[in-house]
Subunit: 292 residues, 2 copies
């Protein structure tokens, strides 16, 4: 028997008091206050009002930047050991690039795994966005379908951004680290943009290898938690809702979920690189949408 | 009573024969053929295989670039008459820009509504992608939530791209028209990118006004169908699945759904411009995710 179709947004009417979300701290406004703001402002005219969403257990959903439909249970059974052996110049370039980047990350962050996670996730969310955007534009120009790759790559970008939103609740970066993020993004976004236009195969392979390293880094993070070097604090509320963790989930559960995500991104990107290696367009092999 | 949570992807296991989609023509591969291809290729190693999705009625989902969770019923009850009256310099600049663009569109396409739709939808899918991407990068740099605006704007871009994928099934553009699309995208993408960095308020207002014009154009399209100037042909299969139209839906039903989408984009973008007019960041007012 096939399951019934299930839809994207859990929605109820009439809209009730909206729950506002800012910088990780949910803040509830009363229904009366929202009504007052709508009555005063120009927004009212457009009739736009955020629908109140609910969790599986019926309690209100407090996040505005992602919906219950974006949440999922991480598939931690994913194979963590997979590695794509270098085969050809493109792979060699990709692996060397990643090993070079790994050297700098190791030097800069050493064993400060939480800080490392925050910093690297600001970078990790760039490739999927750049590639998704370029494929979107290509699909428009050629008036051709994408085979789902736009969606799959934007999903990856969004997932990495959620990693960032989670770790920033655990480790608050210092000012100079925030400044570094600005500089690195400026360079990396443009470099990846140009590289993806010129040599998408190498770009996907680089991300595949980067994700192999990410799996290793998060394994070290777990070891630091298990050995007591890092306190196994309570999981942030956002992580509990995003990965549908139990209410008493700990940091360890969060890192396990994140590591599983990275392993899935590794698979998707090596897969994409392999399609390109065969001289095919990505759209010829359907993308694994919703592969977590 | 609150409704139960419903999830994003309709997924079944075990995976069966994949349905491939290329340029609007669904093509089914047998399960055996897919197995053979997986066994032969390198893809097997990554264990990535597109899950077979199903429609509400249990029949297989044939599209790979969008899922059943992306389909919806257009809310054609949306107010088609809404107009934001110019208030201030930014609005004036936006309206003049749109009237200037409208003049060129009218001159170029005149009453060839189908052709006009294809050409303009290649442009319409750009602003949401550019703005969504810029807000994604901003969210990463500042390590702050987006208030849902990244998702809402990317949804808009995807929706516009689906308009294109639909109309390209109805009207096949000529070679010079395809060449024009290349040139226009190169200019428009970069212009909108720079404009959004410098003056996002005007950009959202421009899109708001453009969508007001789009509603008018699609109303003309409908009139041409009703008067018999344009044949009310069968709706393309992709439109039936995307907007969940009845199996015997016609072009007229498709244009009605598209026009409703444009009216919703109008609301979202005027709303965003209004938030900016109040000197606030978009994230301070939650985005209407899933507002169709
Ligand atoms: Fe990550
Ligand atoms: Fe990653
Ligand atoms: Fe459109
Ligand atoms: Fe539009």
């Amino acid at each position: 028997a096939k399951p019934p179709l299930q839809q994207g947004s859990a929605v109820v009417s009439p809209p009730t008091g909206a729950a506002y979300k800012h910088e990780g701290q949910p803040m509830n406004k009363s229904e009366a206050q929202v009504d007052k703001e709508l009555a005063e402002g120009k927004y009212d005219y457009w009739g736009i009002r955020r629908k109140q969403l609910y969790k599986v257990d019926g309690t209100p959903w407090v996040w505005h930047s992602f919906t219950p439909a974006d949440s999922y249970q991480a598939d931690t059974s994913v194979d963590l050991e997979k590695h794509w052996p270098v085969s050809g110049v493109a792979d060699w370039v990709a692996l060397k690039t990643v090993k070079f980047l790994r050297f700098w990350a190791d030097t800069l962050f050493q064993k400060r795994w939480g800080c490392r996670a925050v910093m690297l996730e600001t970078v990790a969310a760039v490739p999927g966005m750049v590639a998704g955007m370029l494929l979107h534009c290509k699909s428009l120009r050629r008036m051709e379908h994408s085979g789902g790759w736009i969606k799959a790559l934007l999903e990856e970008a969004e997932n990495e951004r959620m990693h960032l939103m989670t770790f920033v609740e655990i480790t608050k970066p210092r000012l100079w680290e925030r400044a570094l993020v600005f500089a690195v993004q400026g360079v990396f976004f443009n470099a990846y943009f140009v590289a993806y236009v010129l040599w998408p195969k190498v770009c996907h392979r680089i991300v595949g290898y980067l994700e192999e390293e990410a799996v290793i880094s998060y394994t070290h993070y777990l070891e630091a938690i298990d050995s007591g070097k890092i306190a196994n604090t309570a999981a942030p509320a956002i992580a509990i809702d995003y990965w549908r963790l139990p209410k008493d989930a700990k940091l360890r559960d969060v890192v396990l979920a994140v590591r599983a995500d990275e392993a899935h991104h590794r698979d998707v990107n090596h897969y994409a690189a392999n399609i390109k290696t065969e001289g095919k367009d990505l759209k010829e092999s359907p993308a694994p949408i919703g592969y977590h």
